[in-house]
Symmetry: C2
Subunit: 189 residues, 2 copies
Amino acid sequence: MDLFTALKERRSCRNYTGKEIEPDKLEKILEAGGWAPSVMNLQPWRFYVIKSHSLKARLKHSCESLAQEIFVASGWKWVSKYKFDFLVEAPVLIAVAASPKDTGADQFIPGRGTGYACSCCAAVQNMLLAAHALGVDTLWFTLYDTPRAKEILGIPGELDLVSIVVAGYCAEPPKNVPRKPLAELTVTL
Amino acid sequence: MDLFTALKERRSCRNYTGKEIEPDKLEKILEAGGWAPSVMNLQPWRFYVIKSHSLKARLKHSCESLAQEIFVASGWKWVSKYKFDFLVEAPVLIAVAASPKDTGADQFIPGRGTGYACSCCAAVQNMLLAAHALGVDTLWFTLYDTPRAKEILGIPGELDLVSIVVAGYCAEPPKNVPRKPLAELTVTL
């Protein structure tokens, strides 16, 4: 698939058929993550590929609890009604984790030290694009409680869980989302 | 260009010829940034397109000062010798900034609130890939002092400067960088 087609057509999917992802496609998606740029070429990302139904169900349960806590803190009604079914319906979740120590020189800049997370986000975006080109739908998911999710997934304490990629085949085609015009986003200096 | 070719061939360039980027290519690169996924579809990114030589020179100077401070803090010799010439040699720098308020529900999760930065990193990765497909070389740059860089570029106080994309035409082709094998990066659960 042409790069620009992938960039423009990729959408977030929040409902999945449960159809498995073919192993060769899953491997290509993970490889795409590994081709991301990273701070000092540390390639800090680790990919936890979650297929276990019981782990997905425990993660869903912990996210539902979190949503209620966020509702109490925020008063946002949509959070209290948010459905996390996609966490068990999707055949694969890819948790992307890295050590905050693998962050390069920005660890010495006050208020920073986020290079490892930037690198992981680049890997996530590569995976979303690769998945789309292979006909696999995805969601970039971050609405989890980090310590609880790490405990469920057995992610070592020294790693940060930066994001989770939900992947599978969408039951209903995701909607198009209009983009803000460039003129509104851009300042030229 | 095929997506997977772009993913695998994109490299970081640290020396630029100074040749200008064609306006239609620059527009396509910025548009690619705007097609990134974002938390709650907030599209929080703002792109500061820096062509002014004096601003680039001031930014370079502030980064050189920062590198000396990092050298003192870290003892890392390479930092003290690091050359920031690419900041003035490259025809365009794109500073990607966003408000930490545009971060969605993760602002209520302790230790998080980083959704706006994840969204900006996805936009950066889209821009790096689009640039490569158009024959434009880039560097994902983060070795700046945030308050000083924001002041030089006139970025409002309420925005965080997440990353800077250095863009232009490479004087020497960037080197290939080997990737860690998937087996080393992946855990299946």
